[in-house]
């Protein structure tokens, strides 16, 4: 059984009286430990699909099931709790909170758990170590390079050991060297730590790091 199952998923935005379909009747399975890359031109609905999987947006029709739990049937409150337990999100612009240190940014998801301060510290330091920034724990985002900021964001995404990591153009704002480092790190997360990753990108070099590539174009999803 796949970790992520998407069945007959459609998303149609309504603007005034005009219906704007993003995609219709999509099916997708992602197995545990898979590193899947989703490619497609701008506006093809990649980010929308990612948001739907994370329960940040509601589909027009269809179902999404992650680890046997139907995400599309959850209330907003249930979704918040589910996301904190099962989803690690990596954004294109890192989206770190600028007033918190690297340590505090990584710790954020753990504040939603019942871990003690000591346990949280252990988890955060482990995550920072994995992303190679344990010596930057007390740095604020403005004191870090773009690549380092994204690594902190990845630390934040993995610190609570989520079931699924969703990455939306994580290298889109980085130079080639930093992008390469980030992709290597993601590959490592997948291979060493068996993390299931869905990476959205339109960068062919990034796509080559995944185990499989899917294309979303004009509302149609193809392998």
């Amino acid at each position: 059984m796949a970790l992520l199952e998407i069945r007959s998923l459609s998303k149609v935005y309504q603007r005034d009286s005009q219906a704007i379909p993003v995609f219709e009747d999509i099916d997708l399975d992602i197995d545990t430990g898979e590193f899947l890359v989703l490619m497609g031109p701008s506006g093809s609905g990649k980010t929308t699909l990612l948001n739907l999987i994370a329960g940040l947006d509601e589909p027009t029709t269809g179902t999404i099931t992650v680890g046997g739990e139907e995400v599309t049937a959850m209330s907003r409150r249930q979704l918040a709790a589910w996301r904190s337990d099962h989803v690690g999100f990596i954004f294109q612009l890192y989206n770190l909170l600028p007033v918190l240190t690297a340590y505090q940014n990584v710790e954020l998801p753990l504040l939603l758990t019942h871990l003690s301060k000591k346990e949280r510290r252990e988890h955060v330091m482990t995550a920072l170590e994995v992303v190679g920034l344990s010596d930057r724990a007390d740095h604020f985002p403005r004191q870090l390079s773009g690549g380092q900021e994204q690594r902190v964001a990845i630390g934040r995404a993995i610190v609570s050991d989520p079931t699924l990591i969703l990455a939306d153009e994580p290298t889109g704002d980085l130079d080639a060297k930093s992008a390469d480092e980030i992709l290597t790190l993601m590959q490592r997360l997948n291979r060493e730590f068996s993390k299931t990753i869905l990476l959205v990108t339109h960068d062919q070099r990034a796509a080559e790091r995944g185990e499989a590539i899917m294309h979303l174009d004009k509302g149609v999803l193809t392998r």
Binding site: N51, A54, L56, D57, R76, R77, A80, A81, W82, R83, S84, D85, F89, F91, Q92, L93, N95, L96, L97, P98, V99, L100, Q104, L108, P109, L111, L112, T113, R156
Partner: protein, 387 residues
């Protein structure tokens, strides 16, 4: 576990200008509120400090002020002989019959103002134990000497020791200044009964104050005096008599404090609303991150509400700091019952400061609520798009 408070505190520090502007708006409201309440407190304290709970003040039946009262020497003598009147160390009853008149004096830069001139006997200090000479000396019996309450020394012309004041068609020499624990007595001029009587209202006192043998027995003392057909007097516990004189003005001042500060608060609240809407707007991506990570909308609401409260707290503390120097500043007003000038000091008390801070926090909560609600209700996807 909620969004860490340090997130909000540091966010507030990130925009010092808008924080300080909003906080200053609230500080001004707190200043006005605390200042007006301190004025009210000071006035009330001056009048409540005037009377003692152990003393009974006797005026003519129906008189609500000493000004409209009249008590004959005979009545004063009967009162002095009553069994419930305490005796002094020398065995004599602790009674103070007093003349009470208003005299018009020159207040430099302001004009004429009415001041209480109180006649008393030289042993008055035994009945009124909160009064003491702080400069010069007590008057000598049989002379045209007067002593001046320290609150009006310098506020009126010719009130220094050695000066001569003219009122009641006579000249009076100032021989001392007295203090009375900040009470309204400090706004009076005291002279000898036997000198004031012929100069003003003839052979009549305006009040008689005596110390009770048993302060707890006031009700029976009051009843005994009311039932005595020779007297035609009303007895009041001295503390209540003066405290009641402050009631109307303190009520008006309290109302004005709440009303004026309330109107100003509306402006300050709008300031907070603006600041917080700007903060919420500018931090939409951060809000999106928090919601994406799984923080509930209620946590986001509490977080931004806390931020508004932090700003309000700064405003409250600033307002209190602005108000503190007012403490002890002496001002004066007319006592609407006695129609005389009463000098008193602003009283900025700890509980007033606490109220000021509480008032500021309330402004913060109200001003922060709608922006915080907007933050919490922000659709995550929409907020994330503003990245």
């Amino acid at each position: 576990m909620k969004i860490p408070l340090i997130y909000n505190i540091r966010s507030v520090r990130q925009r010092p200008v808008s924080t300080l502007t909003t906080a200053l708006g609230m500080a001004l409201v707190v200043l006005v509120f605390v200042a007006m309440m301190a004025l009210s407190r000071g006035f009330r304290a001056a009048l409540t400090g005037t009377g003692s709970t152990e003393n009974v003040l006797v005026v003519r039946t129906g008189a609500d002020s000493e000004l409209v009262s009249g008590i004959s020497r005979e009545t004063a003598q009967i009162l002095a002989g009553m069994p419930f009147v305490a005796d002094g160390p020398d065995g004599r009853p602790l009674v103070s019959p007093e003349v009470y008149v208003l005299v018009s004096l020159d207040r430099p830069g302001v004009g004429e103002a009415l001041v209480v001139a109180r006649g008393m006997n030289p042993d008055v200090f035994q009945v009124r134990q909160n009064v003491e000479i702080v400069a010069g000396r007590m008057i000598n019996p049989g002379t045209s000497e007067i002593i001046i309450g320290k609150s009006i020394v310098g506020r009126f012309a010719n009130t220094q020791i050695g000066d001569v004041l003219s009122f009641g068609n006579r000249d009076w020499t100032v021989v001392g200044h007295f203090a009375a624990a900040g009470s309204a007595f400090e706004s009076e001029i005291w002279g000898e009964n036997e000198q004031f009587m012929p100069a003003f209202r003839g052979e009549v006192f305006q009040s008689v104050t005596f110390r009770m043998r048993d302060p707890a027995a006031f009700e029976s003392v009051r009843q005994a005096l009311a039932d005595d057909p020779r007297l035609q007097v009303d007895a009041h516990r001295e503390y209540d008599f003066y405290a009641n004189q402050s009631y109307l003005l303190t009520q008006i001042l309290n109302f004005a404090a709440v009303f004026i500060a309330g109107i100003m608060a509306i402006g300050a609240v709008f300031g907070a609303v603006n600041t917080m809407y700007a903060a919420v707007g500018a931090r939409a991506p951060e809000i999106a991150v928090l919601l994406t990570l799984g923080f509930r909308p209620f946590s986001v609401l509490s977080s931004f509400l806390f931020e508004a409260v932090v700003i309000a707290f700064i405003g409250g503390i600033l307002g209190c700091l602005f108000a503190l120097p007012l403490n002890g500043i002496v001002t004066s007003t007319t006592n609407w019952v006695s129609m005389s000038e009463v000098a008193f000091a602003f009283r900025v008390t700890p509980d007033l400061l606490l109220r000021g801070v509480f008032f500021a926090l309330l402004m913060g909560l109200i001003g922060g609520f709608f922006p915080a609600r907007r933050a919490a209700r922000q659709p995550v996807v929409q907020a994330a798009r503003q990245v």
